[in-house]
């Protein structure tokens, strides 16, 4: 759709429910995927809860939209950064998160992990390399 390819980073900072930021951020990511840009997602602070597995929302009357994160690989969103310190501060480990994968078309469609665990300092460098940072 556009010849310019920019590095887009979506920074998810809020818990999945309680506010609408997470849900509407995901809508931007899905629409943005059609623009063939170089897209990454970052989950920091309470944002790490967005990709926690085993979410059950029936009692709060809201839709559990977390299965959508598992579809991101099909949208060629394959770089998902999770900040280690944010996990640790909340007593979470990688085992508590959804297993997000993508099929690498350059490697005979081998299934690979989308999530990369990075330190706060590393994420700072990643942010520095972006052209567009959208913070939710």
């Amino acid at each position: 759709m556009s010849e310019t390819i920019k590095k887009f980073l979506y920074v998810n900072r809020k818990a999945p429910y309680g506010t609408i930021y997470a849900l509407e951020s995901l809508e931007v990511v899905l629409i943005g995927a059609a623009f063939d840009q170089d897209v990454s997602l970052a989950f920091v602070d309470d944002g790490v809860f967005q990709i926690a597995k085993g979410q059950k929302t029936t009692d709060i009357g809201m839709k559990n939209f977390s299965p959508t994160y598992s579809a991101l690989g099909d949208y060629e969103v394959t770089k998902i950064y999770v900040e280690k310190e944010s996990l640790e501060e909340r007593g979470l480990t990688p085992d508590n998160l959804l297993h997000l994968t993508y099929e690498d078309e350059d490697d005979d469609y081998a299934e690979k992990d989308s999530i990369r665990f990075v330190s706060r300092a590393e994420l700072s460098d990643i942010m520095d390399q972006q052209d567009v940072v959208l913070s939710f």
Binding site: S2, K6, F8, F35
Partner: protein
């Protein structure tokens, strides 16, 4: 410089609409180009002409409308976020069987693609939120 602006909070409750407006006005006054202001999340509430703040307070929607008129500023309200929050133009009102529209002068309703496009085309996308 060519700039695009994103506003993610509603007016009055948060300062981000005021900050975005002041930033946009200052950038235009300095001769920069603002290619688009995109309203998302509760930011879409900047676009209702039905808000009636007290007379001794600023009317943020009216300030945007005036700025848009003066500089042909493109004020875009996200359609999906607007539908959730009852921001409608005439077409949307008709399509959803609502009795009236409330979009303010200078604002238009469009899709999220307009945000991504603004991010691609501008030198900087400046996000105002909480």
């Amino acid at each position: 410089m060519k700039l695009a602006v994103m506003v993610n909070e509603g007016p009055y409750q948060h300062q981000s609409s005021d900050s975005a407006y002041q930033f946009t006005k200052a950038a235009l006054d300095k001769g920069h180009e603002i290619s688009r202001v995109f309203f998302y999340h509760d930011g879409v509430n900047n676009g209702t002409r039905y808000a009636v703040p007290p007379q001794d307070d600023r009317n943020i929607t009216q300030l945007w409308s005036e700025l848009s008129k003066k500089h042909s500023l493109d004020l875009v309200v996200c359609v999906a976020a607007a539908q959730r929050r009852g921001i409608l133009d005439a077409d949307e009102a008709k399509r959803h069987g609502k009795s009236g529209d409330n979009i303010a002068d200078g604002f238009r309703i469009s899709g999220l693609g307009q945000l991504i496009e603004a991010g691609i085309q501008a030198d900087r996308l400046v996000v105002f939120g909480d």
